[in-house]
């Protein structure tokens, strides 16, 4: 188990950031979703042992969140959302210092800093002062600093915010590689659902301090029995009429149709109707929920 929380509550004055939150999350790449004010950051703070919770218990990597805060932080790497820098240092010193703060000897920390900077793709730039780095370079630097001590769990808080597409893709590739090829568990907090979908296998959705949904993304995005998404060339309305005549229930969605077929009907029905009416099918697949729909559905259920 990566972490588990039982009945965790936390309030800031009158604001209840976490409400009796109970969850058990397995090791792996975990996406943390939720709108602003959902309690994501408070949950991350709780996991890192940075705040005292009002009630409940929990464990991270088998360590109690109240009793073993420093041990947890020793085993966890954290990439904060904000621009955070140790000032007046070259990149290599920055990562080495992060390693030393985690307890590595100076020699080990510098050697390891070079390794992780190679890994995140900061080459000669590592000898430049960090204040001169671009947003993407700073993000990769923070990632290097977070993994310099080889944590078992890496927490990334909105790691792709404000990045250009190429830089974003680099960070996502690194996160995915760490989680899927290097055996490091990941907690990936983001508003960008495609990012979460690209990196994570498992997702948890928070809303107003409560757990709204959690599970494997592949399972949450369940297929819809008897529903297909289809798009044809030319007159789509005529094709829809032919589908209705065949006992289907077509509904327009974006630039195509979502079609409910009669019980027992197969995908061959579409090909037969298209052949008879002279339409070209350009897109056809069984209907599946997107992560966005899962997310919105969870929020709707709460409201």
């Amino acid at each position: 188990m990566l972490f588990q929380l039982q009945g965790v509550s936390k309030s800031y004055g009158k604001i209840r950031a976490l409400r009796d939150l109970s969850v058990e999350i397995p090791a792996g790449a975990i996406g943390l979703l939720g709108p602003n004010g959902a309690g994501k950051t408070t949950m991350i703070r709780t996991l890192l042992g940075l705040i005292s919770i009002d009630g409940g218990t929990g464990q991270v990597l088998g360590m109690d969140i109240r009793a073993r805060r420093l041990d947890i932080r020793q085993s966890v790497g954290f990439v904060p959302e904000d621009e955070c820098l140790f000032p007046s240092m070259a990149g290599i010193e920055f990562v080495g210092y992060a390693g030393e703060l985690s307890g590595m000897s100076r020699k080990d920390a510098m050697q390891r800093a070079h390794e992780v900077l190679d890994y995140v793709g900061l080459r000669e730039e590592r000898y430049r002062n960090v204040e001169s780095y671009s947003t993407g370079m700073k993000q990769r630097l923070k990632l290097a600093a977070a993994i310099v001590h080889d944590p078992r769990l890496l927490i990334l808080d909105e790691p792709t915010n404000g990045m250009d597409p190429a830089g974003r893709q680099e960070i996502l590739s690194l996160a995915r590689d760490l989680a899927h090829n290097k055996g490091m568990s990941l907690l990936f907090s983001s508003h960008l659902l495609p990012d979460v979908e690209e990196v994570c296998d498992y997702v948890m959705v928070l809303g107003r301090g409560k757990l709204l949904a959690h599970g494997l993304i592949s399972e949450l995005k369940q297929s819809h029995e008897g529903l297909y998404e289809v798009r044809v060339k030319a007159d789509q309305d005529l094709f829809a009429q032919r589908l209705v005549a065949a006992g289907c229930r077509p509904e327009p969605k974006d630039d195509g149709l979502v079609v409910g077929v009669p019980a027992g009907a197969t995908v061959g029905l579409f090909w037969n109707i298209a052949a008879a009416s002279g339409h070209q099918i350009r897109f056809l697949r069984p209907r599946r929920s997107t992560l966005e729909e899962v997310f919105l559905h969870a929020l709707e259920e709460q409201t």
């Binding site: 950051t41 041990d71 904000d82 030393e100 703060l101 307890g103 080990d108 001590h149």
Partner: protein, 325 residues
């Protein structure tokens, strides 16, 4: 699939104990500050009084031995009463004490300068660059952070006050060729270390507290100059106008020096010197050398109060959670 993946490799080296994490912050800070030319110059300047102190202690050791080496320089001591020169060993503690008193008086200036050069950026720059979350997301407590930052100031103050005082002591000891020096003057060595600790904790915590109040190191520096210079000027002015015994308490460095005098027991030294003077003029002459005579624990109270305020400011201003958005 490459034979050897040169990408991310796991690491299973040895980690140091939590107890020493503060030292990493201190060492890093000291290395960084030592790159400043002004800091190096200040340290160099601060070692001149140390050299003078060592010279005085060495000279006195040679005088006690009536060494030939000191003969060419005896004319420098012609102002001293004859009774001292006839029996220098009886005045050993007195001379050493007064030498240390003046050494620390001059070093106070260099200490304040070094705190001014080194201290303002310690926390203010971390706040400005939002580095606090980077510290507290690591296995560090707030105590480690504060102790680490205090260690930077401690390093430089020790370099200009405690270490030179101890080196001068050892040199004086070596040149005296007399083990009774240890018995007579051990108090001075202990007092020097104790006083150094008091200055480090008091000035260090005060500077850290001020540093946490602003993102701009220049404002912090200006604030420090205010505490140092302005409190001295106001304290001096009040002494002239009000002439009350509490007036010197207004001066920050005055309070530190009052504690210094108690630890070194300068009163006894000046009493012995005073016993050689004309009783009619003695008090008038000695009042300028002795410094303030109000109860020393008043100064200790002021310094303790400032320490308490500093701790309150630090614990309020540096909260890991507020910075972790």
């Amino acid at each position: 699939m490459p034979i050897f993946d040169q990408g991310y490799q796991h690491w299973d080296g040895k980690l140091s104990s939590h107890a020493w994490r503060w030292f990493t912050i201190s060492a890093r800070g000291a290395r960084s500050q030592f790159k400043s030319r002004w800091v190096r110059l200040a340290i160099l300047g601060a070692w001149i009084p140390a050299a003078v102190l060592a010279t005085v202690l060495i000279a006195w050791g040679l005088i006690e031995q009536k060494s030939k080496l000191i003969l060419p320089f005896l004319s420098l001591f012609h102002d001293l009463p004859e009774s001292i020169m006839l029996d220098p060993r009886s005045y050993r503690v007195t001379i050493w004490t007064i030498a240390y008193q003046y050494f620390f008086l001059i070093e106070m200036f260099f200490s304040m300068i070094l705190v001014l050069l080194v201290g303002p950026s310690l926390i203010s720059r971390d706040i400005r660059f939002n580095a606090i979350p980077l510290y507290f997301s690591r296995p560090l407590r707030r105590f480690d952070y504060f102790a680490g930052k205090l260690g930077v100031i401690g390093f430089f103050l020790a370099a200009v006050a405690v270490v030179p005082a101890l080196i001068a002591y050892v040199l004086g000891l070596c040149f005296s060729m007399d083990l009774t020096v240890v018995r007579d003057t051990a108090r001075l060595m202990i007092a020097s270390v104790g006083y150094g600790l008091i200055v480090v904790v008091s000035a260090g915590m005060l500077m850290l507290a001020i540093s946490s109040l602003s993102r701009n190191s220049r404002y912090v520096g200006a604030f420090w100059v205010g505490i140092w210079f302005v409190s001295n000027v106001v304290g001096g002015a009040l002494q002239g106008w009000v002439k009350a015994s509490w007036c010197p308490l207004v001066s920050y460095t005055g309070n530190l020096l009052r504690i210094n005098h108690v630890l070194l027991d300068t009163d006894s030294a000046w009493d012995q010197i005073g016993s050689l003077m004309d009783p009619r003029n003695r008090d008038a002459i000695l009042v300028g050398f002795r410094g303030p005579t109000y109860p020393w624990y008043w100064s200790l109270g002021v310094l303790a109060g400032l320490l308490g305020i500093s701790l309150c400011i630090l614990t309020t201003r540096v909260k890991s959670l507020d910075r972790l958005k």
